[in-house]
Amino acid sequence: MAANSVEKDMRDAFGATLVELGHKHKNLIFLDADLHTSTKASYFKKAFPDRFIQVGIAEQNLFGISAGLASEGFIPMPSTFAVFASRRALDQIAISICFPKLNVIIPGSYVGIPTSRAGGSHNSIEDIAIMRAMPNMKVADPLCNNDLSAIMRTALETGGPVYFRITRYDVPEFFSDSHSFEWGKGITMREGSDITLFGTGVMTWKAMQTAEALEKKGISAEVIHLASIKPIDRELILKSVSKTGCAVTVENASTSGGFGDAVLEVISENHPVRVSKIGVVDSFIESGGIEELFSHYKMQPEHILAAATRMIQLTT
């Protein structure tokens, strides 16, 4: 699987797919909390003005209203920045939405490091951990535009509650337009035998770059992309580590309770191997340039490579 060189803002893919889904699902309603031109939900607003609800800067109300709409048979998509989706209205998400298992699809915009200069209050790093801890919630983090679109299509087909991430970061396109997404299914991006790099979201790209660098050093890395964080592809994870014997997980998020821990859980109970987690380690992401921050928080291919080398050395 080779990366297409065209890089496009993931938000545009979000907006375009929204419109596509709006045509298909007549009961899809978009709810905004004063951010639609940032999230690019403006595409949907333009196409379906009557199915776009502005709730103002009131995220608790945003999710509460969505619960009400869902119980009336609509498919609400309440949208805000990921920090607010995960931290500002969590009781509403848990009890009004997840407990009754309502069909609400939650996009979390502007996640992790690439939120960049907005700083510590806006750079969402705990959202995977938080959403994964919500009973009944499904969680996904796409690598690229076609991955995102596929996740959105599947979310609408399979029903909520669903949380998925949107990253404002220019990632090459790894998949074709007809790419499909299935809950609990990972993708082997690259086969290898010495170590597995488990990636989610845009970090799978950095994992791919790492694998190339490792190859030059004569190390064969398998790269597995797990956009579906919950449920997670237990079989694929186990098959891979049975072969490689060690692993590194990489995520554009905090390592506390997030994607890495979801992988660890599967491995530790069934086939324990050495695993190192790459991500933000217990720290707010302060303002800065995107790549500067990735470097500062030790999440660049070079850091993944160092962790991988260490895991291999300690294993053999």
Binding site: V55, A58, Q60, N61, G73
Partner: protein, 302 residues
């Protein structure tokens, strides 16, 4: 609107039954909130047995009215109504707080006729707003969404977010009822967090406001009628119902110590007998008086 004596008597009988069943289930499960269930007994009776369009055989019927009990700890009053109205088989109330039974706080999964899951205060009005918007989109102009909140509950900011949005969207199909029973869990409202001038707050948030004595059945029925038919003026309506926490049992009245407290079998028996006397009914005690209690008394006391 003048009501016939008969109709009022019928509704008052329901309020009596709501109180009785509440005591039965709270005593039996050894968990629950008597005070806040009692203060809304007349309101619930008027809603379930007169004002709301409902069909227990079609609990999801589109043309029904919806009720969100945002103060979801008062669930016994709702479960009593659902049983009395035939949504639940007789004696379901003894499944209150049982695994697989009726959740301690209202939960959609517990029984037909429950419109929202709750427990955390302050969230119900947003759900009501969402339903009302949804009904509009489905071109259902007849149905109403009722949302019952506690007076302490309206400390929650989420309520005011929802209130602002209901006015913004001209949702006159939302009718909010504030159970102004003057007490919260651990003290009086004026002392712990004053909500006055409460009518002004709702008015300033763009609502019609009606103030009533929430235990006077005629006032309750008239306010509900007015909210539905007269005040359909593009503004949502808030009914501020002045009530008494624990109304109907002397020791519990106006006493926040009975906010959450499960009576033991003997006390439950006493309460139920007191209730029958107050309502001029043949004295009748607690139905499970002689059953050995096997449950932890959990929140008991406070």
């Amino acid at each position: 609107m003048t009501l016939e004596k008969e109709e009022i008597k019928k509704l008052e009988e329901y309020a009596y039954q709501i109180r009785r069943l509440s005591v039965e289930m709270i005593a039996f499960s050894q968990w629950g909130h008597i005070g806040g269930a009692f203060s809304i007994a007349e309101i619930m009776a008027a809603l379930y047995f007169r004002e709301m369009k409902l069909d227990p055989r079609q609990p999801k019927m589109e043309s029904r009215d919806r009720l969100i009990l945002s103060k979801a700890h008062a669930s016994p009053a709702l479960y009593a109504c659902l049983e009395l109205a035939g949504f639940l088989p007789k004696n379901s109330i003894y499944k209150y707080c049982e695994l697989g039974g009726l959740e301690g706080h209202t939960h959609v999964g517990s029984a037909p006729g429950i419109e929202a899951s709750g427990g955390p205060l302050g969230m119900g009005l947003s759900v009501a707003v969402g339903m009302a918007l949804g009904m509009r989109m489905k071109e259902n102009p007849r149905s109403r969404v009722y949302c019952i909140m506690g007076d302490g509950e309206i400390n929650e900011g989420n309520i005011w977010e929802a209130a602002m949005s209901a006015a913004h969207y001209h949702l006159d199909n939302v009718i909010a009822i504030v159970d102004y029973n003057k007490a919260m869990a651990k003290g009086f409202v004026w002392d712990q967090m004053n909500i006055e001038p409460v009518a002004d707050k709702w008015a300033a948030f763009g609502w019609n406001v009606i103030e009533i004595d929430g235990h006077d059945m005629e006032q309750v029925v008239n306010a509900l009628h007015e909210a539905r038919w007269i005040k359909a003026n593009g503004k949502p309506t808030a009914i501020i119902a002045h009530t008494v926490k624990g109304k109907g049992i002397e020791t519990a009245e106006f006493n926040y110590k009975w906010h959450t407290h499960a009576p033991d079998a003997e006390t439950a028996d006493k309460f139920l007998r007191e209730l029958s006397r107050t309502y001029g009914r043949p004295e009748q005690g607690y139905s499970k008086l002689n059953l050995k209690n096997t449950k932890d008394t959990f929140y008991g006391g406070e």
